[in-house]
Structure formats: structure tokens, C-alpha cells
Amino acid sequence: MLEIKNVSYSYGKSEILHEISFKVEKGELMCVLGPNGCGKTTLLKNILGLLTPSAGSVLIDGDEVQKLSQKKLAQVMGYIPQAHTPPFPFKVFDVVLMGRTAYLSSLAIPNKKDEEIAQEALAKLNITHLKDSIYTKISGGERQLVLIARALAQQPKILIMDEPTSSLDFGKQTIVLEHVRLLARKGISILMVTHDPGHALFCADKVVTLKKGRLLELGIPQDVISEDSMRAMYNTEVKIDRMQLPDGRIICVCVAVPKPTGI
């Protein structure tokens, strides 16, 4: 499905990514984990075709991303940025409808069919009631769901998410994550960058960890996220424990327990 093959990226003389390789299969939810400045965002931009790797390639079903047109690419891959505020107070429905841009002939405006698809996208995330709200006036969590709906309106095979929970409060984070988990169950491949190992443990099928532009480990979250590996990545003590959810799922929780210094 999505294959990252020996991708290196340099900006000027500094190498930001060094020979990164991994695959995301159909319906798989892959988390990218790493400390600040490890190259997560640069990796995403290379995958999205916004940057071109200095070496190596990004492939979707065998096609090189950098060689596809923006339009073709947007039909297979959706991007969910961190929730932000655009300069104009668009209606939520209009924002979601923008997900149809890749399917419009170059001068057209969206038609009935596009509006139906946008409507379905809203319904999938249970936010139909926000349809006529003003995008700039809803809460951060709602905005994030709207951006997911917009990406769904693209009807993509792959979703790329850049820390979709970073600006949300504690409760909203898990609501968004749960939606993300269910989307993967429906067969969409998801690559999600996150800064919280707990999120990866909560919903990911696989995890890759990055540090200083190099891939450290790749595997299922319970293996990759260990007290040792987290200590190595974040330079802090970490405790990991198992717990059972009401629905029977067993998940791990990961808590940082920094040793106080100088007291």
C-alpha cells in the first residue's frame, strides 16, 4: 500500500532524515513516535509529496508519490493537519466539501453528488449537527473532527495525520483517537505522527520510532514501547503497565516518571 523506501532528506548540509524504510499495509494504523526535532514532520511532508526526498522514494501501490499530480495524489491520500484557524469564517459544511476538490474538473464547483459525499463524511464522525456552524467558532476537538471529515470526503485509501490530538483536552483526545482506530478497521491505512506513547499503545497496530532522523525500531506497540526504549528516546524514566478495558481489550499505559534532580 504505502511504502517508504530508503528515504533520506537533507536541508542544506544537515541531514534531517537518514535512510528511513517501512511499509503501511491496507487497514493498518501505524504510529510514528519520536521526540521533538526527530524529523517526524519532515517525514510526513516527504510522504505527502510536499517535499522531495534527497534519496530513496515514497511509493503508493508502486507509484512514486513525487511523480503523481497533486490531483491524483489527493484522490488516494488525505492529510489531516493539526487543527488551526483559517483567516475566514467558513461554514463547516463548506470546509468538508473542500475535500472534494481533487475530484472536480479543473474549473468546476462541487455538485449534488459531492455534497452527498460531504454529508456522509460528517455522518460517519457523528458531527452532522455541526454542518451549519462556523468553523472558526467551534471547539478545537470539533475542528479536528471536521478536518478528519474533510479528509474522508477525499475518499482516500491512506490517511496521514500530524499529531491530530496535540491541541485537544484530555477527553477529546481519546474521542478523536477512537475515531481514528475505527477508520483503520474499515480498511483505510493510517499513518499518524504522535508525541504521546500512550496514544500509540491505545490505538496503533504498529509503531516506528525515530530519533535524530534515524529509524530506531519498528514493530507492534507492546514490543517497541518498553521502559528501556522510551528512556533511550526521551531521556527520562518511564513506567509501563497493563490494564483491561471494559470491552475486554487489554492495553498498556505509559507514564513518564522523571527522577527529580538537584533537590
Binding site: K45, L48, G49, L50, S69, Q70, K71, L73, A74, Q75, M77, G78, Y79, P81, T85, P86, P87, F88, P89, F90, K91, D94, M98, G99, T101, A102, Y103, L104, L107, A108, I109, P110, I134, T136, K137, R150, Q154, I160
Partner: protein, 328 residues
């Protein structure tokens, strides 16, 4: 519904503008003049001359320039993701001003002044565009920056021309041109501006849905399937055609391109699908009415540019105050 009302308002403003002026013409009189012109004997009356050779071209010019500057302003505000951008941000007005002054300085005819204004307006934006590519900074912020550089360059050129111009006839002509006016617009001016303005309008209207997406920023627009470089080029080229051609017949008429898109946004919201046509109509109405004021306010014409700023600034404060929610 709102659009329908606006079109009615435009027609009303159009008829009203016909009727008022140095020669007051009542509506029945207007009707008989129109009837006489198309179906009558062919002998031109004084009033007929006023209507067809003076008032009509001027009314059309006011509507055209108003619609043009407003539409270009709205398109730029979306493209630059900034509600405080006006259509001359990339140097179109400064370039056109310089071009006109240069032609006036060398005592050229009205047509050459218009042509020179248009060409220099276009060249100014082209230079800004090329400098931005050379700078290789942010695609939109860099463009604004190069626009400011180019504007400054052409404004100092205009300043130099004013300094060297003959203070008895050239300097007043230059100053008057820069203040903006539609008083000397005739049929020929109108038609020669109509072509580039129409050529600019068509692409702007066709890409108007995409302008929405561009307002979300470079990266998002690209991941939503837009070739941003191409779209930006289309918007810049079209807006420049429209702006340079307008300024070439009207001189510097400020604030419309900033104020009217905001007024339109307050009425129909930010979606360019409806925003652009509404901005177009509102711009036409607004400049038509302001130009009526310029014609009728005193025994001597008040320069249009002065009025649009005088009215535009308080108007802007009013709309901005009621409209600012959600912009930050």
C-alpha cells in the same frame, strides 16, 4: 434571494445615476431620449449627447472599475490568506501611476497615457512575481514583500517625475491623475479597458471555488489536490489585468478593493462561490454611487480617489467591527 435584491439595487443605482448631474434628467425624459435614440428621427438633442457621450460611458466606467477592483481585492485576500490585502499589494497601482505620469510628462495623448499606465502596472506585478521566485522565500509572504519593494520603486519614480515636471501644466495634470477621476472617460477609453478587464474576470470566476481551498494555506491546498503554483499564477495574472486596466482609466482609486470584499463577506459569508459574484455587484454599485457624489457634490468635481478614501475608511471601521469575529 440576496443576489436578486443586489441586482435590483444595481439597476436602481444605474437609473438614478442617469438622472442626476449638471443636466438633471427625469426618468420619463430618459425614456423618451432612449426611445428617440433608437427609434426616432436621428436628430440629436443636447440631452441625448449628454446621455450617450458623457453620462453613459462614465456610468459604465464607474461600474466596471468598481466591480474590477473589488473582485481582484477579494481574490487576493483569499490567496494571501489575509483579510487586509488590497488589489494593489503587488504594485499594480504604483506601476500604473508611474506609467501614467511618464506619459503625461512626455505630453502624450489620453490613449497613450492609458496604455502606458496599463503596461507599467502589469510590468510592476510581473517584476514582483519574478523577484519572489528569485528570493525563494515563502510563496505568499515573499510575494507581498516583493510587491512592497516594487511599489516603493515605482512610487519614487513617480515622485521624481513630479519633481521634474513643469509646475504650470504637467504637475497639476499628474497630481490630478493620481487623485483618480472618471470625468474624462469616453467610449474609446471604456472599450479599451473592457477587453483586459473581461479577460481577467473570466478566469477569476472559474477558479473561485479553489480560492476557498487556497485560504487554508499552501500545504493543505496541495494535499487537497490543488496545483498551487499554477492557481496562484492564474489569480495574479487575472487580478493584475483587471487592476491595471481599471487604474489606467480611473487613476488611483483606493480602498474599494479592501472595503467591498469585507462588506460582501458580512452579507453572504466567505465562500467564494457566492462571495465573488456578490463582491462584483456591490463594487459596481458602490463606485457608481461614489462617482455620482463626485459629480454632484460641488460646482467643481471632487477627485474620486479622495472620496473613496474619505468614505471607505469610516465604512471599513464599521464593517470590520461587526465582522471581525472568527478572523483571528
Amino acid at each position: 434571494m440576496k443576489k436578486f435584491l443586489l441586482i435590483l439595487l444595481l439597476i436602481a443605482a444605474f437609473l438614478f445615476s442617469f438622472a442626476i448631474g449638471r443636466y438633471a434628467i427625469s426618468l420619463p425624459q430618459l425614456w423618451s431620449i432612449l426611445y428617440g435614440h433608437y427609434f426616432g428621427s436621428g436628430a440629436e438633442t443636447n440631452l441625448e449627447t449628454v446621455v450617450f457621450n458623457i453620462r453613459l460611458p462614465r456610468i459604465f466606467a464607474a461600474m466596471l472599475v468598481g466591480a474590477a477592483l473589488s473582485t481582484a481585492g477579494a481574490a487576493y485576500q483569499g490567496m494571501f490568506k489575509n483579510p487586509l490585502v488590497s488589489p494593489d499589494i503587488l504594485g499594480a497601482s504604483a506601476g500604473a501611476g508611474f506609467g501614467a505620469c511618464l506619459a503625461i510628462y512626455y505630453s502624450q495623448s489620453g490613449f497613450v497615457i492609458q496604455l502606458s499606465a496599463f503596461l507599467f502596472g502589469f510590468v510592476a506585478v510581473l517584476l514582483a512575481y519574478l523577484i519572489n521566485i528569485k528570493l525563494d522565500y515563502d510563496p505568499t509572504v515573499g510575494l507581498v514583500l516583493s510587491g512592497i519593494l516594487i511599489s516603493t520603486l515605482f512610487s519614487s519614480g513617480t515622485g521624481a517625475l513630479k519633481y521634474f515636471a513643469d509646475a504650470n501644466d504637467k504637475l497639476p495634470a499628474i497630481t490630478f491623475w493620481l487623485m483618480g477621476s472618471l470625468s474624462s472617460v469616453d467610449k474609446g477609453d471604456l472599450f479599451s479597458a473592457l477587453i483586459p478587464i473581461t479577460l481577467g474576470f473570466i478566469p477569476l470566476f472559474l477558479v473561485r471555488w479553489r480560492l476557498n481551498v487556497l485560504a487554508f494555506g499552501e500545504d493543505e491546498a496541495r494535499t487537497l489536490g490543488i496545483n498551487t503554483n499554477r492557481l496562484r499564477l492564474i489569480v495574479v495574472l487575472s487580478s493584475t489585468l483587471v487592476t491595471a486596466a481599471s487604474v489606467s482609466i480611473s487613476g488611483m482609486v483606493g480602498w474599494i478593493g479592501l472595503v467591498i470584499p469585507h462588506l460582501a463577506r458580512a452579507i453572504v459569508g466567505p465562500n467564494y462561490r457566492t462571495l465573488l459574484p456578490v463582491t462584483f455587484i456591490l463594487g459596481a454599485i458602490y463606485l457608481l454611487l461614489v462617482d455620482d457624489l463626485a459629480r454632484c457634490l460641488g460646482s467643481v468635481e471632487v477627485p474620486l480617489g479622495i472620496l473613496t478614501s474619505l468614505i471607505g475608511v469610516p465604512f471599513f471601521i464599521l464593517i470590520f467591527k461587526n465582522n471581525v469575529r472568527g478572523w483571528k
